[in-house]
Symmetry: C2
Amino acid sequence: MKTLAIAVLAIILQTSAFGQVQNYTQYVNPMIGTQRMGHTYPGATVPFGSVQLSPDTDEQPHNIGGKYNPETYRYCAGYQYDDTTIVGFSHTHFSGTGHSDLGDFLIMPTVGPLQLEPGDKKDPKSGFRSAFSHTTEVAEPDYYKVRLEDDGILAEMTTTTRVGFHQYTFPASDNAHIILDLMHGIYNYEDKNVWTYVRIVNDHTVAGFRQTNGWARTRTVYFAMEFSEPFVSYGYKEFGRQEYRGFWRKFDQNHNFPEMAGKQLRAYFDFKTTANEKVKIKFALSPVSAEGAIANLRSEIPTWDFDLVKRKGQAAWNRELSKIAITADSRDDMVNFYTAMYHTFISPIVYMDTDGRYKGIDQNIHKAAGWTNYTIFSLWDTYRALHPLFNIVQPSRNRDMVRSMMAHHDQSPEHMLPVWSHYANENWCMIGYHATSVVADAIVTGVLTGPEANKALDKAIETAHVGYYDGIGYYEKLGYVPEDKNSTSVSKTLEYAYDDFAIAQAAKKLGRTHVYNEFRKRSQNWRNLYDPSVGFMRPKDSSGNFLPKFDPLKTEGQGFIEGNAWNYSLYVPHDPDAMIAMMGGKQTFAAHLDELFTMHLPDSFFAATEDITRDGIIGGYIHGNEPAHHIAYLYNWTEAPWKTQERIRMILKMQYKATPDGLGGNDDCGQMSAWYILSALGFYPVAPASGQYALGSPAIRTATLHLENGRTLSIRAKDQSERNVYVKNVLINGRRLDRHYLTFRDIANGGSLVFEMVDKPT
Amino acid sequence: MKTLAIAVLAIILQTSAFGQVQNYTQYVNPMIGTQRMGHTYPGATVPFGSVQLSPDTDEQPHNIGGKYNPETYRYCAGYQYDDTTIVGFSHTHFSGTGHSDLGDFLIMPTVGPLQLEPGDKKDPKSGFRSAFSHTTEVAEPDYYKVRLEDDGILAEMTTTTRVGFHQYTFPASDNAHIILDLMHGIYNYEDKNVWTYVRIVNDHTVAGFRQTNGWARTRTVYFAMEFSEPFVSYGYKEFGRQEYRGFWRKFDQNHNFPEMAGKQLRAYFDFKTTANEKVKIKFALSPVSAEGAIANLRSEIPTWDFDLVKRKGQAAWNRELSKIAITADSRDDMVNFYTAMYHTFISPIVYMDTDGRYKGIDQNIHKAAGWTNYTIFSLWDTYRALHPLFNIVQPSRNRDMVRSMMAHHDQSPEHMLPVWSHYANENWCMIGYHATSVVADAIVTGVLTGPEANKALDKAIETAHVGYYDGIGYYEKLGYVPEDKNSTSVSKTLEYAYDDFAIAQAAKKLGRTHVYNEFRKRSQNWRNLYDPSVGFMRPKDSSGNFLPKFDPLKTEGQGFIEGNAWNYSLYVPHDPDAMIAMMGGKQTFAAHLDELFTMHLPDSFFAATEDITRDGIIGGYIHGNEPAHHIAYLYNWTEAPWKTQERIRMILKMQYKATPDGLGGNDDCGQMSAWYILSALGFYPVAPASGQYALGSPAIRTATLHLENGRTLSIRAKDQSERNVYVKNVLINGRRLDRHYLTFRDIANGGSLVFEMVDKPT
């Protein structure tokens, strides 16, 4: 009896540790960002889950007739809200990326004559794709439902970390099918499929793999697929070129033959169904082997109880969402906030089997002992706000993400921390060595400590010294990347300089003075590219001369990437004071920022600039892409911090809406959403690893942060309203704050944080 | 001291167990079979070694302009004796096959300007290939040497089970290279390479894999490559189509960048050499991972002592060769015999890492605990004589080969024993389910016993019941394979019937009467296709009618494969008496055999018949292909066994010569050579699993078989000579034998076997 009492007490304490248990999933709308350029997906996934089981509404090839197909970009997450047909449900999706990959293992239920081509979206009956309507569609955390109109099949799905659970309610049919399309993919090149393999394990289980050469150059995903009932028959068709390969044509190997392999396969499984019969499928993934996928399947979903799995998945979401419990002025604010939370807790994803084994970037199998391996590191985006947010509300996971990066370093041929890494591959997307910032922020915040912190710092230092990588050799020699040797050189120089600051901060924290001095010095390199004659950062050649032609509005060929001189020149997050001084002092600088936020951009700008649309722009300020994310906070370093407060509220309002088209740009694996969450709470890490969080203007009424250290930070925006966007005072535990930033300790120590909101600048 | 004395004694006993230690490797000439159609290779390998490191003299694509290139066939083993250039040295080769694959990881040393194309064989200086001459060439067991004339480089190679050891003696050069060609292969289709991957591990070590879609549909070989000195620089070129794939072109990744991947790569490593400097390479293979290859490399060759590795490899060969110690009339006879021994001990090959891990046919990684996993099962060939020979002189290995087949069954999607299997793939080449014969022979001979024997029999039975495989369903229903449903139906029916006999024999041995009865009955199915009106076996349709057109000389379209009705109709090895009775009795049958051995074949025959050349033919008897291998022994069942003796000696003399062109047909993974060994010893297993070995005419003077059970069988051909080919008497342990066969016990019990040879039939 005593034992029971203690157990009950423990449960109560555990529950109370997260405050009153509320249903935060009700505020999540996975449809937000699925229209236009948010590039999110509406399907089912658990927090940081390996499986993202989601409908794909079209299949756009990357190239048509050897030329890039611009439609591809819209389908980075497989789903576009304006579409009226669904091709099927695939198991892997990036959330919010601006380039893509994945879309593995498309499943589609059909009845009637077998169709193995997806067909035309204007005539869905021409293939296995089906018409659908948003009126029958339900998208919740870890649950997605839709009626497939063509054949009258109700599709439902939920997931665990490694297993997708499908439930299809069929009409009566002697000719029902489940199609397993191994050709389907996102950003599909003609020969993206390197190899696919399917093995019939028994009369209701299938396993195999898909190997691709896409954004990830050498990628294999293994799967296991278990049906709730035996299939009546099965087979496949090879849609690729099949030359003579030995003796594979000797007898019928396309029908009821238990091994299938090739580059372009679509398999099918036949059933006989009664009216309203539910055919269920558990579909597990593994980075290691088909055997691993089978083990994942059996250990994560031992039953056929769909509702139980759904309930558990939604409970897991609620646990994560309740880490920040807010109240706000409107339901839309609640929806924006918790959908942002949802989007920040989607990736990086768990990337290992239940036994800890995973594929390393050396293509060998490794085992994570005592930690969780993650993949999908979109670091040029996520070092800014997502990982700093994790250090506040997900420190254990972020520690394991850093460990994953450390393992990546050890296993990578280059001995570098990741740049943009997914599924045991480095895709080298974008610039910088921002994993160093993530490592440094973890060290500076105390999330990573002891010998492990020193090892992580060593790997950061080694990364920053890889001379052949993207101009680092020149950067080390000249103090900047010369545009004639390596393009987009200004962006690289500025970001390397910030990353060097981050390394210096970590070294300082760990008492490694020599390293601190070296990287503190390197972090000054941004100074080498400022041209006072034009008032912008500007590319130099390797002789030290500024390139003659220069247009601060343009990006292409101007020394920048995904941002022009207007935005990028402000990228000295680690030393705004020095930057402002160099740019003419506080007053001049504030006027310069004002001009940025109010300027009118010509139409030609949008035509020529990659990854930026009108949606994400305020004046000349580009919120839809990351290099500007800190800019609105820079007013804090002038005499007019109130302008930060005003701009932040304006950005929150204009760039985030509780509608499918509500995101002003790609969510970028949660970076845009993390910006929202932190800004809505009233602070933002302008320079991660600085230990400082610039104050803004909170958009919530109250927020309670339930920290892993057991403490609670209660935030209150007193007199909050749409007009009261200015902060008169900030009180920490009742004491007035006389600075424009919080420290990590201010947050992590918990307590009370009160913003006194007023309707005029003070 | 006592312990030492015992140890010394143990060594002496161990040595004496194999008789006097002689150098049998001196009689091995790996060049035999390298000219014309023997399809053997001259390079280095240890007994049953995973690595076959051998020169490839040309690289013939399988297709040219979409059409089959007939030159391909000559290069099944990569080397043709008449060629005058070497492209390089690759690590995997089949021995004697009539279809091919492999040729992985070609290494070529060069000096001077880097050439990454092999160039024209008529102008070897046009590429990295080199002229060579047989005068500088040395081919010994586990050692190959040649001078590469173009650049004056001496190439030497030796191996361990899993590691190739290269030693290149360079001239002085500032510009020396080792090329690692990942495009090269044997039976190379344009898109045979599915993927290749190379990782620089450190300044002198490289690892990765090659994945192909060839005869093996889904095949990956991993490698690790260690140089004896650091490379100065390195790089690669992609020869395949390389579309945009993310960000791989952002900075120079073709030179000194430590990761390479693609479908058509050639990598190179640069060195500076002094005159006569030896650059050595250890090149390990693994079926599991690059990590596994590195572990294999380190455990098998811890030093850089080339001569030590060579000595060990040759000592291993000598141990295997001395299992049958013979004396013979001439050095040529010795060379023929020991080269045949050499060729029988090449494959199946060990297929697992040193830790026992291997890739199963389910594409998962498995571990062989307490046994050795083998691959390369050319069973249509080797069930006849090779595996029966192994049951005599390699029972432990053969037991493990059967275990490998059992694992194959368990892991195969079809739950079948292998048909023609290599490298975790079933290529379904040729016909039958002859693994059942290998299993049965192992059971009947007592090589496989107890519960394991019963399990093996279960798997054989299951295999024989797989209805969708190659006409088995019809065979079970109709008692024969109908030609209108499944071509080459007579060959299949006859071979299934024999395989069924083998299963019955194993069942009998294990006391499983029900199984015995079932398969004994099935084994009579050969009777269903004999047409007394023509005196041959002949195809029927599914209604039970013989097909109207029939030509007993032709193969194509006549119901046969790789053999015509003249040869194939005699394929009832398990019941010659019944077959002879059906064909008209002993006298008629003997005359029929005489006609076969003396008939004249028209030229048109050779043009139309696959895999058979004039070399392998005596009259209409086709020794160059397997279906006829038992035929000469069938005279034993007539009144004229002396004709068996005469024919056997004629075949031994005509079909096996101690010259590069000495083999009358493909050696077929040792089957042709096993026929030689057994026939030269005086007996042959007409029906494996019968426990009987038909007597022939021994071609040796004396032979001592050192059996694993510790016993010794001493064979003496008394009065042996070229004229004394007839056997007057056979004495076992001094007792006259009154039958025309030996039993397995006669052999395995050891003792004395004397053939009294005379110059006239008796």
